[in-house]
Amino acid sequence: MNVDFFILMLAIPLVSGALLIFAGERDWAPHLNIIASAGTFLASVLLTMEIIDHGARFALGEQFFIDSMNVFFVTLTTFVGLTTSIFFGPYMRNEEAHGRLTKPRLRLYKSMFQLFMFTMLIALTTNNLGLLWVAMEAATLTTVLLVSLYRTSASQEAAWKYFILCGVGIAQALFGTILLYFAAERVLGETGNALLWTHLVDVKGQLNPTIMAISFIFLLVGYGTKVGLAPLHNWLPDAHAEGPTPVSAVLSGLLLNVALYAILRCKVLADGAIPTGFAGNLMMGFGLLTLVVAAFFLARQKDVKRMFAYSSIEHMGLITFAFGMGGATANFAGLLHMTMHSLTKSAIFFAVGHAAQKCGTQIMEDIRGLIKINPVIGWGLMLGTLAILGMPPFGVFASEFMILTHAIKYFPWATPFLLIALGVAFAAIFGKVQPMVFDEAHAKPLPHAPAITPVFLHLGIVLMIGLYMPPYLVRWFQEAAKMMG
């Protein structure tokens, strides 16, 4: 093996991020963005094949560690990154034609987008829990200026809220990391290995349970802020609604996943140290609270992107609950749901972005009759909505069904909350999307043809997984689920 795909995968976004700053407004800059994303995706696929063939491995000393759990998130991240950059081209040209964005801001966007991918890939692959924190914070920093890209007062307010709330949250996570290091140092000694996850897993049974419990609370609240767990979820709908749509798509589809991944890594350690299932119970509580709060806020939304942001919070609550239940089935369902949610939600944001552009507004009452203006976008939005609401035969149905049946079997007290929240969410979202798609139309055509491929690509995969899961994917999920205990 001469080429290290891992290094390649990290180097491409970093280098292209730097290049795109200098590339300025040249014609090839958008192509470079797509090519770089495609290269990153290709490298991650090759890396995945290598991991499947040869098992988990380290990179750059012991600082990076790739196993079946994170390689799956890596592929998902680079895939959505690629489709987002394909979507980005026509979308941003339309925004430019409408005069909402200027060339220098597009340059900022492209560069920051690549750096954002870089920080997320670092966060996913690092073995060092301290570096994980650093990368998570860096991911926030790269996206703050993207949320305020339109420079309207609302978008700046959203970006400010995003920065401050996530900053406060992530500070809690740092305190948790310090406590974790403290607990680990007493077992592993001052060797500098005490934050390396692979070392920590070997000694997780010996970590002091009191410190680990306090540490996990801080970590869950801290990273949970970025996942969008209630009660610190307020930044999420604002940032999603006011930022440009490609940013909403990657925030919802990717950033939330990466933050949840950080919690999962810490949960493995906390579970090893605390035998009472404390970490799982805490996650179930937060997950359920988030699910219910988000479901009831969904019904009051007027802005379409804001509504789907609340839907993201709702799904993150459900996934957190699933991982909180623990065990092979629930972890499997949680992983599947994370994948399905990423793909479906970014597809929805792509469709919503074009729909909002067409009608010149994000207010749902003013978006009407998409099926007549542009049947492809209309159907994309409708099918995406049905998929995210958990209708069969889409993949979300499979994962939600597994979560529900597992909850009914082992945690029956949670079932009414789950059913009510899912029911309310269904009524709220479907009732609002239906007239948007099928009502009478009044809107002008767009100057640039929208990019519809990503929408149907994502929905196609979600549909396929709902109907038939390829055996290697099942094995992959099972292996990752087993690792989480």
């Binding site: 924190w133 305020s148 007062s153 305190f175 306090i214």
Partner: protein
């Protein structure tokens, strides 16, 4: 109770209490420039305390982090903030909203809470500076309180940076600091964050003609 506390531990405790005192001073300070100076002073004290820990324990990497703290938190960040204030003409921004006595009382409650949370942890620790963990947590919470009570953008950021000071103190007092890679990464994040915020301040000012974040109340659930 006749065991004498070694001089180094006494010094560390002294510096830690100065940091806590400065946190309260920042909580009460309404003017922006003195607030930034207080923040710089807190950074300086933090660097001195780290230096003492480094000297007592002979940990070379702690000398580095002491130097980094001095450079970043006592000099570079306050300088950036001073420049921002001058360029934004925010010098005379005085906040009138906060109720200082109440804030102070809430702050005292926070200190008591953090000492209680930190007690079981510091009992397990064997570092010379273990007594300061409670103070570190209190500094974090007081900075948090400051961010909640302030209505202007720059004091909120100072609160954010003071929170980082508290976290750094926690890291040195519980474990003699994090591994070097992590500390460098954190320092980089703080620096980049401050620069991005600087850019952001100008955008906010251009949009709202003020750095008063009370103008930012449009996005909420109705």
């Amino acid at each position: 109770m006749s065991t004498a506390i070694p001089l180094s531990a006494q010094l560390i405790n002294l510096f830690a209490s100065v940091i806590l005192l400065l946190s309260f001073a920042m909580l009460a300070q309404r003017r922006i420039l003195p607030l930034i100076n207080l923040f710089a002073l807190q950074g300086l004290t933090l660097a001195l305390s780290t230096l003492v820990v480094a000297f007592t324990t002979n940990q070379t990497h702690l000398y580095w982090s002491a130097g980094l703290t001095l450079l970043l938190k006592a000099m570079l960040l306050p300088w950036i903030l001073h420049r921002l204030v001058r360029q934004l003409w925010a010098k005379w921004d005085v906040e009138s909203l906060i109720n200082v006595p109440t804030t102070m009382l809430v702050g005292i409650v926070l200190v008591i809470i953090s000492f209680n949370v930190a007690l079981p942890i510091s009992e397990l620790s064997s570092t010379v500076s273990r007594g300061t963990l409670g103070i570190a947590l209190a500094t974090v919470l007081l900075a948090f309180l400051m961010m909640i009570t302030r209505t202007k953008a720059i004091p909120q950021v100072v609160g954010f940076l003071a929170m980082e000071n508290g976290l750094f103190l926690a890291a040195t007092s519980a474990t003699y600091g994090m591994p070097m890679v992590v500390e460098l990464g954190i320092a980089l994040d703080v620096l980049v964050g401050a620069i991005i915020l600087g850019v952001f301040f100008f955008q906010i000012r251009d949009q709202f003609d003020s750095l008063d974040i009370r103008h930012m109340e449009r996005l909420k659930e109705r």
